[in-house]
């Protein structure tokens, strides 16, 4: 075992609030934010998430990766003196003085159940599962709400004309935070439409990559069976040895 820190330890460290272990009197810059209406003074270099923790909130739900990937920490806020309602990921948005905020960690939705193998690669599949997509008025509110800077309206519109390629490509960075759906006047659940679009495109639209064809052929020719047999027959001690000696990427 080396003395280097493990990946997990390093992530944990990087995520420690910058204030951890710092004496409050040494923190120079403070802002006032209001969480669900109650004012808190918090250090100005925190994210909304760490600021809420600083203020005493403890998250069991409404937080996940802390890295802007899981979409669990959707937040809406207004700033004093501004009428615009803003949105962001709590773990990625820095606090600003005069923020009024609340978290919307979950957005209720009816996700369609389908067997992708049985669907038709045209607009009828979208309309069958999410007929409300036709109610989109192109207000663009979803796009304004998206913390991932996705052109959400454009992928909803592409779905409406059965253009799965465009849906898949445009919605690719969606992390299902649900903020778009919470703001949509047509009550559309954009992220589920995006997901159906990506699945449909993956199954029916995309060219099968060469490496997949090669790998499938290798599987058919049972290329990996001897290695699997070897593992299956190995003792526990042998398995531990194999594991330690495995090919792996550098941390």
């Amino acid at each position: 075992m080396s003395n280097e820190k493990s990946v997990m330890e390093r992530i944990a460290e990087a995520n420690k609030p910058v204030t951890a272990g710092v004496d409050e009197k040494d923190i120079k810059h403070w802002v006032t934010i209001r969480i669900m209406g109650k004012a808190y003074r918090v250090p100005s270099d925190l994210t909304i998430l760490t600021a809420m923790e600083f203020a005493g909130y403890r998250f069991v739900r409404g937080v996940g990766c802390r890295q802007g990937f899981c979409g669990a920490c959707g937040t809406v806020y207004r700033k004093e003196g501004e009428y615009k309602l803003k949105t962001g990921l709590a773990c990625q948005t820095r606090v600003e003085d005069g923020m009024y905020l609340v978290q919307i960690p979950f957005s209720p939705a009816q996700k369609a159940i389908y067997d992708i193998k049985k669907e038709r690669y045209n607009v009828s599949t979208i309309l069958k599962y999410y007929p409300e997509v036709a109610k989109c008025v192109s207000c663009n509110t979803c796009t304004k709400a998206c913390p991932q800077d996705i052109e959400v309206m454009d992928y909803v519109q592409a779905a409406l004309r059965g253009n799965y390629e465009k849906v898949a490509e445009t919605s690719f960075d969606c992390i299902r935070c649900g903020l778009c759906a919470m703001r949509c006047p047509a009550e559309i659940v954009q992220y589920d439409i995006g997901q159906l679009g990506r699945r449909m495109y993956g199954r029916y639209g995309m060219d099968k990559p060469d490496h997949l064809k090669i790998r499938l052929k290798e599987l058919e020719e049972k290329k990996f069976d001897p290695e699997l047999d070897k593992l299956e027959k190995a003792t526990k001690e042998e398995l531990v040895k194999f594991y330690a000696a495995r090919e792996r990427e550098k941390d």
């Binding site: 008025v137 192109s138 663009n140 796009t143 309206m153 004309r161």
Partner: protein, 287 residues
């Protein structure tokens, strides 16, 4: 010559035969339909409610997309898209307060829309920009002996402010028919509504209208009906199946987009005209 082209959702889905045939026909006549790189649903129906601005966002946003291309005109083929885009445009041209409100709502758009884009229909492009003489000179396979009824429906003609021709006695499609060598047969139901979206919730009324319209055209001698609206096409074409079921003596009549008929006369390859997507097989007509 290139013209920005707004296809609309239906031409990209169930009316692919209109989109494909138009592309080929206009190209043959020297007009490149250049699809807007970004567009959304037209809004489908022009909202008549006086305080319902929300439903004008979709059409106006499309006109912003035209301006983004540095263009000041856009052509569309679907009668419904044409009507919605043209009416919202007119409304915004005439009402500065509403225009400001909509622009303010769309504050993320770089273009502030001022009502300057001209909304054209594909039929007026043929009449005014290409010209019937030029079309006539390009006809390779004259449709001699074919009798064609032009079905206008409502959306090309009403209200008169956006009408593409005379709202009561239009001739724009008949004039086009005559360029192909075919005979245009006027019939009394050419401007009657097909009942449009009632086809979803009130199919029966559409069956009756379809019967009335198609049989009237046949009574005046038509072999085929042409239209420029995907919803009219669906109602008049596909609903004949139900007409036949309810009235066994009904005789089918093919319904085509005007671009399909014109494409045939221009001698374009059948593949580009997509007759395979019309419900009643029109291929018999051209034997």
């Amino acid at each position: 010559m290139e013209i920005p082209y707004y296809p609309g959702c239906t031409l990209k889905t169930t009316a692919k035969n209109f989109d494909d045939s138009a592309f080929a026909v206009y190209k043959k006549l020297g007009i490149e339909l250049k699809e807007l790189p970004r567009w959304n649903c037209c809004g489908t129906v022009y909202s008549l409610t006086s305080d319902d601005l929300m439903h004008h966002l979709a059409p106006i946003r499309n006109l912003i997309r035209v301006e983004e291309q540095g263009a000041d005109q856009v052509v569309t083929l679907c009668s419904m898209c044409y009507n919605t885009l043209a009416q919202s445009n007119l409304r915004i041209q005439q009402n500065e307060e509403e225009r400001d409100k909509l622009n303010e709502f769309m504050y993320k758009e770089k273009v502030k829309y001022d009502g300057k884009v001209k909304v054209l229909h594909g039929l007026t492009v043929l009449r005014d920009m290409v010209g019937y003489d030029k079309i006539k000179s390009q006809i390779k396979k004259p449709l001699d002996g074919l009798k064609v009824a032009a079905y206008y429906g409502c959306l090309l003609l009403r209200p008169k402010e956006v009408c593409i021709d005379d709202p009561e006695s239009p001739t724009i499609m008949e004039d086009l028919i005559r360029t192909t060598g075919a005979e245009a047969v006027p019939f009394p139901y050419a401007n009657e509504c097909c009942c449009s979206y009632e086809t979803v919730s009130n199919k029966d009324i559409v069956i009756e209208r379809t019967r009335m319209i198609t049989q009237s055209a046949q009574a005046y001698g038509a072999d085929v009906i042409i239209t420029s609206c995907p919803l009219c096409e669906f109602n008049l074409d596909n609903r004949q199946k139900e007409v036949r079921k309810k009235y066994p003596d009904h005789v089918d009549i093919p319904v085509l987009y005007y671009t399909q008929l014109l494409g045939k006369a221009l001698g374009l390859p059948l593949k580009s005209l997509r007759f395979d997507l019309n419900y009643i097989n029109p291929r018999e007509l051209f034997k």
